[in-house]
């Protein structure tokens, strides 16, 4: 990475040198009749101020960068995150070098080639070789950046692998709800927004037997480390956006249009406590799309742990059906038997609410 940046720096400096030497010859060749001193001290002061402005600006920018460094995120906890970070800093370096060099020349030239008695500007309409150089090099660099960016995007957005562990996260005003596929069949049941109510905040469809062991949490999302994760994303009311800064994960949650993001976290929460030196460190899933009054505080904790303790934690959780037996009335008669083991003995005896169960289309 450092080598690439250095190489690019050399190319840009070389280019700049070509421009400078060209300009110098042009200026040398152009000398006209001497005019009486019309231009006083102010011209020289302005020329100098150009250089002062550039130097102060540069120092200010460097200071601000170094000062802000303490607030930067630690190294990404996902492979794709480290890759996008690399691309970000690569692009940033190229842009910064080009910006500093061109602006240095801009301000320096204003001082160096200020009006002098006896000098006259030369008419220098074109130089094809020079134009070719300063067009082709940036074009090639840009093309490479776009190509690497496109490749990274394609990899990140690719289909999740077969063995990916699936979770669902649902955004609403103003919190996230995590839904787990449950330990018995490890499958997320289907959903329908018309089924949402206070008992069933994510609209789980209990005509689908895969739903029976699903459980939900509004405080934590637990995921296993070093295992591909497929996060299915939904929104209930308005736009939200899943943002896990430490994992470099960001995807909008759109009502009526489920989205997804696949990633592999490779540092557990405990490892991050050591890395950051902060014993209270937690990963956070925030909302990063303005969603109304409580947007600023919309978040849920993310816990990354090794697979064994993750599984143990999952087994401790109660399926929504168990904690909210009222939902049993939504189970169609033919599946009652299968649901029985999640329900307290008396709830199964409750009469089936056949109306709710039959009007529902498959989510």
């Amino acid at each position: 990475m450092v080598y690439i940046v250095a190489l690019l720096a050399v190319i840009f400096l070389g280019l700049a040198a070509v421009v400078v030497s060209r300009m110098a010859t042009v200026v040398k060749n152009a000398s006209g009749p001497v005019e009486e001193g019309r231009i006083g001290m102010s011209n020289r002061i302005n020329g100098l101020l150009m250089v002062v402005f550039f130097v102060t600006g540069l120092i200010g920018a460097i200071w601000s960068f170094l000062h802000a460094k303490q607030f930067f995120l630690p190294e990404a906890s996902t492979p794709h995150g480290r890759h996008t970070d690399f691309l970000f800093w690569l692009g940033m370096s190229i842009i910064t070098i080009a910006f500093v060099v061109t602006n240095a020349l801009l301000f320096f030239f204003a001082w160096r080639y200020q009006h002098r008695e006896g000098y006259k500007a030369a008419y220098y309409p074109e130089n094809h070789k020079l134009e070719l150089i300063w067009t082709v090099i940036p074009a090639v660099v840009m093309a490479l950046l776009v190509f690497t960016g496109w490749k990274a995007w394609r990899d990140i957005m690719a289909e999740a692998p077969e063995n990916a562990q699936v979770f669902e996260i649902v955004g609403k005003q103003f919190n996230w709800i995590a839904r787990y596929p449950g330990v018995d069949n490890n499958k997320l049941g289907s959903f329908n927004y018309k089924l949402i109510d206070n008992n069933n905040e994510t609209g789980i469809d209990y005509t689908d037997e895969a739903s029976f062991d699903d459980f939900v949490s509004t405080s934590e999302l637990h995921i296993p480390v070093n295992k591909p994760i497929l996060l299915k994303i939904r929104a209930r009311d308005v736009l939200h956006s899943v943002f896990i800064p430490h994992l470099r994960v960001k995807m909008d949650a759109v009502p009526g249009m489920p989205t997804r993001f696949q990633f592999t976290a490779d540092k557990t929460t405990d490892e991050m406590k050591n890395i950051t030196g902060n014993p209270n460190f937690t990963y956070e899933i925030a909302c990063t799309e303005v969603c109304g009054q409580g947007h600023f505080s919309m978040r849920i904790r993310l816990v990354v742990e090794d697979e064994a303790s993750w599984l143990a934690w999952c087994k401790e959780q109660k399926p929504l059906l168990t904690s909210t037996p009222e939902l049993a009335s939504r189970i169609p008669a033919n599946l009652k038997a299968k649901a029985a083991k999640y329900l307290p003995a008396d709830a199964t005896a409750a009469p089936a609410d056949s109306v709710t169960a039959s009007i529902l289309p498959k989510g």
């Binding site: 609403k172 005003q173 927004y193 018309k194 949402i196 109510d197 609209g203 209930r236 009311d237 308005v238 736009l239 759109v254 009502p255 009526g256 249009m257 799309e289 303005v290 969603c291 109304g292 009054q293 409580g294 947007h295 600023f296």
Partner: protein
Amino acid sequence: MATVSANSATVAHAAEHEHHEPQSFWRKYIFSEDHKTIAKQYLISGIFWSIIGISLSVMFRLQLGFPNMKLDFLRPILGTWINETGKLDPDFYLALVTMHGTIMVFFVLTAGLSGTFSNFLIPLQVGARDMASGFLNMLSYWFFFMASVLMFGSLFIETGPASGGWVIYPPLSALPQAHKGSELGMTLWLVSMALFIVSQLLGGINYITTVINLRTRGMSFSKLPLTIWAFLLTAILGLISFPVLLSAALLLIFDRSFGTSFYLSEIYIKGEALPNVGGSPILFQHLFWFLATQRYI
């Protein structure tokens, strides 16, 4: 520098063309068709808007940069928007951000800068006596003025101005029950923006026509000053993309007021599952950014 003879020649020349009857105050300074006067009107409105836009940003940046700062001294102006703890009300914070963005992008940069400089410089630099249509030019300013009045008025209503971000993404902006700022403030925002777009289109047509048709003798396109080239391209881009924003706003007005589902689908809000299905919030984003990407440039 100028000699007496040159001066008198100019006077004689000017006198030849003075066929206008003396204009009333209203026609000369208010409902003027003169490009320079209109440019000044845009300039003054633009300065007014930039003062408003910048002071809004100062308020939310104070809150953002100094979270513990007591902002009670703003209570005489902002009233209950400053809550009991001396901080900005969260709804008002979003309103500030939204209105700052809207004002700076549309009312300052688009109308204030482009309106002022295009109107002032195009006739002067292409060698035309005035814009192709002084009347359309006047209409353009007054549509902008009406848009300004509505947008400014929306700052003072009880539920506050639009506050879903300057991009006003639905469903947040489409559902009054989702957000205080999606009530009357949003309606005023949309109507104001529709008027604003009409103003931009009238102005843009005029700029383009003037540059193409009213160039002075010998002013070929290749000799056109770069500023004029920039104004021309800006006007063409505006003419292509503002109608798209208008369509986005219109569909949003339909969704808000007439029960359509262009942007709404499968929404459960405030204890109620809405009947709308099949719409796409992403459609709005595409329509919006068709304009806004070039506005940024």
